[in-house]
Symmetry: C2
Subunit: 266 residues, 2 copies
């Protein structure tokens, strides 16, 4: 039995379609708000505040969001996970819940995050991916996209790929991987990006730019021009949120990964 | 340019969540009704009637439904496919459209049909499968289920697995395959059934019975008892429609498969 204040970590998957993003806002359905409401009820009315590893945009999804909170609760840990499974709506699902160090901060302790972006490459658009991918039946010049992806990794100032709402001062992030994978048997392509942090809209602006390169509207060296100028006007349009997944958050070994949590197909 | 009356075949995928099934009904959104409405508009108001290979239940999906109709239209075939892609809603998608023999009947010409049923085996239920699978985190005794599946194939009277609404006289069908496949990395299991025809609710009643066997509530020989008695009361409950997919319809070689149509992930 747990008693006194315990800090908990939850690994979450959510379908972002019907949420106004992760971050709590008045009069909007958000993932953070939904989680805080359920936890506050479980805590008998004491307001619980939840910290998340990454803020996801309205309409964007998560396969591996990580969140944490502290609460006083007299419940076996398995019962807390069970209660969350029962009380959360079917579009926000806890993959695992467990007690962690009182100092665990899901955002600051993260080593890196991985976002993935899905394209539906079928001609007509799969009815099963309408909410979970960008339908992009257009030309995709593989060699040009691969050449553009090759230019991305490194510790760089990403100002040219940041959204207008990005209000952080330091726009330097270390992008450690950028790649494209294709699953032709299901007409799907994925972009995958891993970095120690991402700016607002950065993945969606990278994808929008890569798609312009894939259609031959920009050449691959457009990447270097956006990076060196910091000029958002040189990048492509912001790709729609519905193709975007916060895929996983990586922590040091002593904190650990989701491990024995549920595996979900995205 | 096509002119005079031409018969067309469309291979369709649909998300059945927001449809009252395939078959047209007054005052209900159905797949057949949606398709007829679009085709009637394309035909300039002449009412078009569509024949389908199989009637799917409300909430059930299709990856490979086949439908046909005859119309007088002066459109290149590629333009007809393009018009259907543009005019059909995003939950009904044409995988391919092509002219066929004037005598093509998608139901009577079918050699067999394959239905698949998906289980979400994760503890919490994937948010991305909430509309497309039955969440079944319960025990599933693999050996018992495999033993039960082994008892199914053959030319049999399936009365005991037919729904109350089944109004056909001859309930003999030849089931050529019944199997279970698991994808543990995504916590998913599939049942697959191929037969020369299926009775109303037959797949959902088979799945409901197999799940009872998997939980140890029935032994595998329950299959034989339901078959020999024809007593629906001995079978398990009807599994929910949302896990069911009309997967594909098989035709003789001279009619052909969807072939070069879109491949969609289900």
């Amino acid at each position: 039995l747990t008693s006194g204040t315990t800090r908990y970590r939850v690994d979450l998957a959510y379908d972002g379609t019907d949420f106004s993003g992760w971050q709590i806002q008045p009069d909007a359905r958000t993932v953070q708000g939904t989680l805080e409401e359920v936890l506050t009820r479980l805590a008998g009315g004491t307001q619980i505040r939840v910290a998340g590893a990454g803020r996801t945009d309205a309409g964007a999804h998560a396969r591996g969001q990580v969140a944490a909170w502290s609460m006083e609760i007299a419940l076996e840990d398995g019962d807390l996970e069970h209660a969350l499974r029962r009380m959360l709506p079917e579009d926000v699902r806890p993959r695992s819940v467990r007690p962690v160090s009182a100092r665990f901060d899901p955002q600051r302790n993260a080593i890196s995050k991985t976002y993935r972006y899905r394209l539906d490459r079928s001609r007509a658009g799969s009815p099963f991916l309408a909410r979970y991918a960008l339908h992009h039946p257009h030309e995709l010049d593989r060699a040009a996209v691969v050449e553009a992806l090759r230019r991305l990794p490194g510790r760089r100032d990403w100002t040219g790929f940041a959204g207008a709402a990005c209000d952080v001062g330091d726009r330097v992030r270390n992008l450690v991987e950028a790649r494209m994978d294709e699953a032709p048997e299901e007409n799907v392509a994925w972009f995958t990006f891993t970095a120690d942090g991402f700016l607002n809209h950065m993945v969606r602006n990278l994808v929008g730019t890569l798609l312009e390169i894939g259609r031959g509207r920009f050449t691959p060296d457009r990447i270097d021009r956006v990076l060196s100028s910091g000029d958002r006007g040189l990048a492509g349009p912001t790709a729609p949120a519905k193709g975007l997944f916060l895929w996983q958050v990586e922590y040091p070994d002593e904190i650990g990964s989701a491990g024995d949590g549920d595996r979900f197909r995205a």
